[in-house]
């Protein structure tokens, strides 16, 4: 069994997640399933859609992640054989594979063609966010970035509010602003947090807005908390229409030296999981270097990087003066 530098960092910083998953052997089986499924879905897309296989976000994610692993060549042809691994038996690792099974049942080609009902994709997304392995991943991230140090927090694209709930369950921030473009998600978040959508009176504000760059949203945010101590980005960058512009606007909301707490799936991470998640409406896929270039261009300075891609990109960045 060989270990890369990122594997060592994952063991060092993400030990809780790996322990819960049954140890490195079980987690590796789960990750191998993710790769195996990615190859299966890419093969199906190539067969059905030909040269258009990577012209949708699912195909693009599969192409980039399998290419990064040397499993396919530049033309998308398989150059490395991937065997079906043994099934993990640990409950958390097993349910990670089950998520892939459920997505597979929808049919990768149907998803890529946009033929799968939105409600079905939303159920699958909600299922993922409710699974135990995801909860452990979320909690481990919050531990790692020391969320308890930050009193005024803003979370873009909060989706259904599980991350906000996890933060509020363990920590009493003075102000927590969560926003999302989707009215259903805003309602779900507000309901989970015991708040009213678009009412920013208490400690929690859940706002429906596609971006924090607009003058109205910016004004609400500033009135709500003044300057924020931290921006929480947990698998968020790929939902943003224009991530660079959004990051610059978020930086403007931070106090000098405020932090950006980043966890982001990248193409070098689990390929099948990335493909599943981007199918829920992502607009971009990133390599870990793309993430760093983006944060740098937006005016942040890297304070500490925990992992590059295994199990995903994790770092703390500081708003440059």
């Amino acid at each position: 069994m060989s270990f890369s530098w990122d594997d060592v960092n994952a063991l060092r910083h993400y030990g809780k997640f790996i322990k819960a998953g049954g140890g490195i052997g079980e987690v590796r089986k789960a990750l191998a399933w993710s790769t195996w499924y990615a190859v299966k879905w890419w093969s199906e897309l190539k067969h059905e859609l030909g040269i258009d296989a990577d012209r949708n976000i699912l195909g693009k994610a599969l192409f980039m992640s399998l290419r990064a692993r040397g499993i396919i060549d530049d033309g998308g042809r398989l150059v490395k054989r991937v065997e079906a691994p043994p099934r993990p038996v640990n409950p958390y690792s097993a349910e990670f594979v089950e998520l892939h099974d459920s997505f597979d049942a929808l049919g990768a080609v149907e998803v890529a063609k946009g033929a799968v009902d939105r409600d079905k994709l939303r159920i699958l997304y909600s299922s993922m966010l409710a699974q135990g392995w995801y909860d452990v991943m979320r909690e481990t991230f919050l531990d790692l970035v020391e969320i308890g140090r930050y009193l005024n927090i803003v979370e873009p694209h909060c989706k259904e509010g599980q991350l906000a709930y996890a933060v509020l369950r363990r920590h009493q921030p003075e102000r927590y602003l969560a926003y999302d473009p989707d009215p259903d998600d805003v309602e779900a978040t507000a309901s989970l947090l015991g708040a009213s959508p678009n009412v920013c009176a208490g400690k929690v504000c859940v706002l429906q807005t596609p971006t924090i760059c607009g003058p109205a949203a910016r004004e609400v945010a500033s009135k709500f908390a003044g300057a924020f101590d931290a921006v929480l980005l947990f698998h968020t960058l790929y939902w943003m229409g224009d991530p660079l512009a959004e990051l610059r606007c978020l930086k403007a909301l931070l106090r000098p030296g405020g932090r950006l707490l980043v966890g982001q799936q990248v193409v070098e991470s689990t390929p099948g999981l990335l493909a599943v998640v981007v199918s829920f409406g992502a607009k971009h896929v990133f390599r870990w270097r793309d993430v760093e270039a983006l944060l740098d261009a937006a005016g942040f300075e890297k304070e500490r990087r925990y992992t590059r891609y295994s199990p995903y990109y994790i770092a703390v960045w500081r708003a440059a003066q």
Binding site: E95, S102, S126, A130, E160, R169, G194, V204
Partner: protein
């Protein structure tokens, strides 16, 4: 409004489900402070709404919700109380007509 509607001093055999939930309520209040109390009240109100729920579209449910989570959802329906971690999923299942609550 919610507290005044609770009847944990009723003539039913103790401890009633509402009494048990009230203990949970106090626990959360002490542990997490007032900001979460509102949430817990919401959660408890949700428990009542779940009294008559059933999976209407079992095919969609069993193909989309991973097996280990299916068990948690069914157990939740039987228990009549939704933990926060499952609330968004229940909302989606209801929106899609997979779960129907009276």
């Amino acid at each position: 409004m919610f507290l005044s509607s609770m009847r944990f001093d009723s003539t039913e055999d103790a401890p009633s489900p509402w009494a048990r939930r009230y203990v949970k309520f106090i626990f959360y209040e002490k542990r997490f402070g007032m900001s979460l109390v509102k949430h817990v009240v919401g959660e408890m109100e949700g428990q009542r709404a779940l009294a008559d729920c059933e999976i209407r579209d079992f095919e969609t449910f069993s193909s989309l919700v991973p097996p280990s989570l299916q068990a948690a959802v069914l157990e939740t329906i039987r228990a009549g109380s939704v933990p926060p971690s499952l609330q968004p999923l229940f909302r989606r299942l209801r929106d899609a007509g997979v779960l129907v609550c009276l």
